[in-house]
């Protein structure tokens, strides 16, 4: 048994990308570590988050840190953007799975270029990858995606995006036993990345009781 992270939900909005993940590391179905930030920011324009094995994710991120450090060392103004990091990760994950040693992670890479073009990409442990306007991993793939499909449009504002994610997370907290209600939001836009402090999702558990049913 290993430590693993749960769902991620990410959507593009007008001017950037927003994603959300809970702050829990599970050991099997046990809620093992709370208050762990599963979203990482790279350079000033990329966010990466994971579902799945924590150790594999850490190893992959060390690789990425090296790439970023390489850009710092060269000091020539060339810096990897989110799309390049996404491609590199797809190659690495595909390589490992072809080696029969997959890195057991589902990754979501979000970023924004200086010219305001946003990027959102998905990769799984088999090396499957695509770019998209909104995506989710883990249980949220089933729970949140249908809701996003119904409500999302390319002109959605930052506030609307936050509200939509909040709504999705609420459903996940209610339905997914491994979802924690301590949620972190992160966004990336032209101006850079920002990660929120963990916030508590307000859940009304009275609906789960038999009290109301007469």
């Amino acid at each position: 048994m290993t430590l693993s992270g749960g769902s991620i939900i990410a959507i593009k909005y007008k001017g950037g990308v927003m994603m959300t993940a809970d702050t829990l590391l599970s050991f099997g179905r046990m809620a093992r570590y709370r208050g762990f930030s599963r979203i990482r920011s790279f350079g000033d324009n990329t966010l990466i988050s994971f579902t799945g094995d924590h150790a594999d994710f850490t190893t992959l991120m060390e690789e990425m840190e090296k790439e970023i450090e390489h850009d710092v060392q060269q000091d020539d103004g060339v810096v990897l953007n989110a799309s390049e990091i996404h491609t590199l990760l797809t190659r690495i994950l595909y390589h490992h799975r072809s080696d029969m040693k997959p890195k057991w992670t589902y990754l979501i890479v979000a970023g924004s270029d200086k010219d305001g073009k946003s990027f959102l990409g998905y990769i799984d442990l088999y090396g499957t990858h695509f770019e998209c306007d909104y995506t989710a991993t883990g249980y949220a793939e089933d729970l949140a995606l249908p809701m996003i499909r119904r409500e999302w449009n390319p002109e959605i504002t930052e506030d609307q995006a936050a509200a939509l994610l909040q709504k999705c997370v609420k459903v996940c907290v209610a339905r997914d036993c491994k979802q924690s209600s301590d949620i972190q939001f992160a966004k990336v836009s032209e101006t850079g990345t920002s990660l929120s402090r963990p916030v508590k999702i307000d859940c009304d558990w009275s609906v789960a009781s038999y009290k109301e049913i007469e």
């Binding site: 060269q74 020539d76 103004g77 060339v78 990897l80 953007n81 799309s83 390049e84 996404h86 491609t87 590199l88 190659r91």
Partner: protein
Amino acid sequence: MESLKLGIVTVGLKSKTHVVLAAHKRAADMFSEHHEKIFRVDSHIGVSMAGLAADGRVLFKYLRRECQNHIYAYGSPHPVSRLIVKLSEKAQENTQIAGRRPFGVGLLVAGVDKSGPHLFQTSPSANYTEYIATTIGARSQSAKTYLEEHFMEFEDCSVEELVKHGVTALAGTVKTKLKPEEVSISIIGLDRPFHALSAADLAPILGDIYVGREEKSEEEDSEAWLQSEEDD
């Protein structure tokens, strides 16, 4: 370093938006075709070489491979400056290890990336320098003189003007009149990938250049296209 002075003249120059390579190509003997002098490394990078062509091809293939690897790994074109760093690392090893000899070739590497157009010159000593305009090859001095006089204007040049400057610099290095099929021009722009100009494209440009010089060159002047240009 001397091998840089061998070979045929190549001129490189860049503006804010484009970088142009211009080379004089000469047939090795009367039965062979004109040697192509400018090579496409990738859609955003071209090189021309002076010196030992065989060595140049080794480096050229290396550059191509690196560009392909970069596209595979990162999904984006290779930044030009990074490519030059890799090239010089490779060249440096050959200057230090016994049993190897330095690459006897100098390259002009022209490319466009996120930070704009670039023009680099590399040498067998593994040094490299970025230029606004430069030239390599035999008898390149007159081209250099021309470029040094005009390079201040290049930044705001249109691509047509840039090509004209390149060809003019090149024309100064040969005694005879350049024929369109003797000149090879490649252009890379921010908005357009690597492409070469055809002889048909070049004819009017050469015509323009030679108009003012008619009196100077009293040599054979049988080019019909040139005549027609002058009549205009």
